[in-house]
Amino acid sequence: MTESGKARPVPPERLRRILNGTLLGQGNEIPDYEALFPGNPQAKAPLYEAVSLYRSKRIVPFDVPGHKQGRGNPDLRAFLGEDCLTVDVNSMKMVDNLIHPTSVIREAEVLAAQAFRAADAFFMVNGTSSAIQGMIMSSLNPGDELILPRNVHRSVINSLILARGTPVYVNPGVHTGLGIPLGMSPAEVAQTIREHPRAKAVLVNHPTYYGVCSNLKEITRLAHEAGMRVLVDEAHGTHFHFSPDLPVSAMEAGADMAAVSLHKTGGSLTQSSLLLLGEGVRSDAGYIRQIVNLSQTTSASYLLMVSLDLTRRLLALKGREIYDRVIKLANYARSEINQIGGYDAFSNEKTDGDAFYEFDLTKLSVHTRSIGLAGIEVHDLLRDEYDIQVEFGDLGNFLAIISVGDRAVVIERLIAALVEILERYGKEPSGLLANEYVKPIVEMTPAEAFYAKTDLLPLLAAEGRIAAESIMCYPPGIPILAPGEKVTKDVIDYIEYARAKGSLLTGTEDDKVEYLHVVRL
């Protein structure tokens, strides 16, 4: 605070019209972490440092990318800013190469492995989908079995097509009140392992989109006992690694590999991700890298990779503090939303020691059926009437992601808007579909069906046939129907119901999702 009477110059940054409530020039410098955390190896960000050094050298580029630090594309430079384009560089000695990392990318990966307590880590630039592909394709040979829950992300089913693997589904538990699919019960996993002793791996959603976690430690024990790998889709669980109040992380549980969407709740750029390796596959790192390279670009974006490096540093140094705040915000939102009446912002109290073993407290999953609106309808009202975008809504729930970037004021807005929606649009809860999960009937593997000769039929006429492609609502992107599964009346009803409620359907060649390729008889 300034003492009265003391004349001081008005700093130039205050002479600017200020947007977003932050003073220009404030909060724009990266702190000196090495001074703040002396001796902590995580205070380094080797890739970020190398790319910054490259920029400062003003090297004359006679290499790609052709925009040449933005000069060749003034429109793009005006949009993204010069700073951004000068670090959109190609792989070269100074900044290493993701296909075969030996210097700064490698160092950054090793730091990431340490931060996540993994044996090794790979930077991924084609999303967590590519990390999932890496896990599955490096664990299965054609024809091999993979034990998994059916409520997986499309990237898992797609990887099974590419790997020509055979899915063995464990029925996820379904919560009767909420209608949502849960995790896997260890007893069911044990039973499936006994029936399919030659399966190569067990894949676990950790957490599901809704924040539901299985007993990962126990499932890992069962799988390892049977000589199977444990692959974890940890797309929505980046933060598990940084807080003791959250479910066990994949690496802590002893899993063999985990796909971690640093971009989802961690704060890195969209499309950047991590593949973590556990002790069990440390010696296979070379082969796994080879598999990843089968489909990985040779021009990995340095914007994405630097964002991974900086995000890893931030989370390693401050993750605890950050996620404490996130959990507080989410808990506050839940308690306020539950006081409105009607909505059920559920949490730990729904855990059952089995298929709903743990809950991710940062997920603000809200059950809406008792206000007479489908989750997708609340999602649409929030967006259209209140300019609030939540992650997704399905039939009975919507999900708001609370993450590193959230502030108390916007939580208040969400709560206030939900009060309004209940008052203005709430109805009697009749006629709403109760269940988010339709049990699949598997007739052939996804690859067999996908590559089979097919007929194109109107969806409504496809009953009784075997689907050759997937149909899903996006998000969450969990196939309602996957290749190789029987098209039943229940599935068709579910799809048409979701369509009528306004869900975005996708997955088929037909972009309106009115026609479906089915396996020719």
């Binding site: 009265s4 009477g5 001081r8 002479l15 409530g21 404030q26 004021v409 808007a417």
Partner: protein, 286 residues
């Protein structure tokens, strides 16, 4: 010789208002925003939040007259008031001139604004000791959500729609205010300016959201020299009272309140808007 010191506020990307600064009294970052108070030869002391002028000693009477006396001359009996924002104290000062008001709940997010204004702008922050005041430091949106059918008048004396005041311009906030008002309650709000495009867009959105929430919405105007373009709007959103039909000039004049800007002739005139402003506001409403 000492260099001249100038404060400038950009009113759009290419236009700014400059004031020569003779002395800076406060320059601090609170939990929510940057707060400054400095002295100028023309406008006297000036309060800025996040670099934007909130008030000056010389012309603050205009804003505070218009946001308080217009609704007070319409509603026949205001007893319970909710004032959201207004940490400088000017709106509170004007409210306290009405003896029939029994309680004023004032919800300001930033206690530092109140502290600094009490210290350096005592003529504005003049009524903080009034016994009817219930001062609460909290988020306005959160506070209002917990109240139903309680207030005769809600005054939204906020900063701009970015920064700490952003939630006070949203449809959910207006909806929650509607619920907090009694069946004949009135809401008045700082409604931005119709002139520079960025401000005008906000004004259009505010009007759109208010009309989606209240059965009766009118906009009125004042001339405030220190604000962008000098032309400022206020919103009058009401469940029952019409600001012109239910306005009783005699009743208000009988109070004998002296106001340097507001008068009962101006009351009628300030609701008569320029054509371009009418077009702007109507363009956002189906």
């Amino acid at each position: 010789m000492a260099k001249e010191l100038w404060f400038a506020e950009y009113h759009d990307d290419n236009t700014r208002l400059g004031m020569r600064v003779t002395r800076e009294l406060v320059a601090m970052q609170s939990e929510f925003q940057a707060i400054e108070i400095f002295e100028t030869p023309t406008f006297g002391r000036v309060l800025t939040l996040d670099g934007l002028v909130m008030l000056t000693e010389k012309d603050e009477f205009i804003y505070h007259d218009m946001i308080i006396h217009v609704p007070m001359a319409v509603h026949p009996k205001v007893q319970n008031v909710l004032l959201i924002g207004g940490g400088d104290g000017g709106s509170l000062r004007e409210l306290c001139r009405y003896p029939e008001i029994e309680q004023i709940d004032m919800v300001e997010i930033d206690s530092e604004v109140v502290n600094q204004c009490r210290r350096f702008l005592p003529q504005v922050a003049a009524a903080y000791d009034d016994p009817r005041l219930n001062l609460i430091f909290a988020d306005g949106l959160k506070f209002v959500r917990h109240n139903t059918d309680k207030y005769d008048l809600i005054v939204i004396d906020s900063t701009d729609p970015f920064g700490p005041g952003e939630s006070l311009f949203t449809k959910e906030f207006y909806g929650n205010c509607h619920r907090a008002l009694r069946a004949d309650g009135i809401l008045v709000n700082q409604h931005e300016s119709p002139y520079y495009p960025a401000d005008a867009e906000e004004a259009r959105l505010i009007y759109q959201r208010l009309t989606a929430t209240f059965p009766l919405v009118r906009v009125y105007q004042a001339h405030i020299p220190c604000y962008p373009s000098g032309h400022w709007l206020f919103g009058f959103a009401s469940k029952r009272w019409d600001p012109l039909q239910d306005f009783d000039a005699e009743r208000w004049n009988a109070r004998g309140l002296y106001t340097r800007y507001y008068n009962t002739d101006l009351h009628t005139g300030c609701f008569q808007l320029p054509t371009y402003v009418k077009e702007l506001l109507e363009s956002g409403v189906e």
